[in-house]
Amino acid sequence: MVEGKLRSRTFRRIKVKTPGARVTVHYRRRKPNFAECGNCGVRLKAVPRALPFELKNMPKSAKRPERPFGGVLCSACMRAEIVARVRND
């Protein structure tokens, strides 16, 4: 029997084939959800679905698009936002 904390569904279970040809179960943290646009809720592209320790070692440019509101708004909402700001001024 595994540790008590691993018996919940907090962790995902992976079947791993050991060198002795035995299949064991390993427990890993679940991946976070997809990043979504803060305005329309569409899934953001180019934003990795990775755990914090994986993101830590990634360069900044690999974590979100290199544009204003990158990683927060989708490109269409970003354009609409900028156009709205320009027209209001």
């Binding site: 290199e66 544009r67 204003p68 970003m78 354009r79 900028i82 700001r85 320009v86 027209r87």
Partner: protein
């Protein structure tokens, strides 16, 4: 609407939200822009025209655009490319002798690995006890003699 001298805001890509001026109309789809953005070709779909225009000629230089933007009250910050930092390089002593004097200041001789005599001198020499030979081996040696 979009013609030479028209002030625009770029709404796509990494230059989005930055002001630029149309320098040249390339065809019915593309224009050449310069200003807060990089000087580049741009699709007119990616531009939001403003109601201001600047009096610039077709295909003006970047310096002229900087001056025109200064009149509008927009200071363009030139992005300098990073200078390479000089880090001390290690060189062999033999090669270091051939280099001119001014280069020597930046170069550091490689710490030699051969200079171990001082370390060896400090080690005390102690006689190593010989292993007593086996009787059979001793016999064989004597017979040979």
């Amino acid at each position: 609407m979009i013609d030479v001298g028209r002030l625009c805001v770029k709404i796509a890509g990494r230059d989005a939200g930055k002001k630029c001026v149309v320098i040249e109309v390339l065809d019915n789809k593309f224009v050449l822009i310069d200003g807060e953005t990089r000087r580049r070709k741009c699709n007119i779909i990616h531009l939001e025209p403003l109601d201001e225009t600047i009096s610039v000629e077709k295909g003006v230089s970047h310096i002229a655009v900087v001056d025109a933007f200064k009149k509008l009250g927009i200071e363009l910050v030139e992005q300098k490319s990073k200078k390479k930092t000089v880090r001390p390089r290690t060189l062999r002593r033999s090669k270091l002798a051939e280099k001119p004097a001014e280069l020597k200041a930046t170069l550091v001789p490689k710490p030699s690995t051969k200079d171990v005599t001082s370390v060896v001198a400090n080690v005390e020499k102690s006689p190593v006890a010989k292993k007593p030979r086996k009787k059979s081996v001793e016999k064989a040696v004597e017979e040979k003699k």
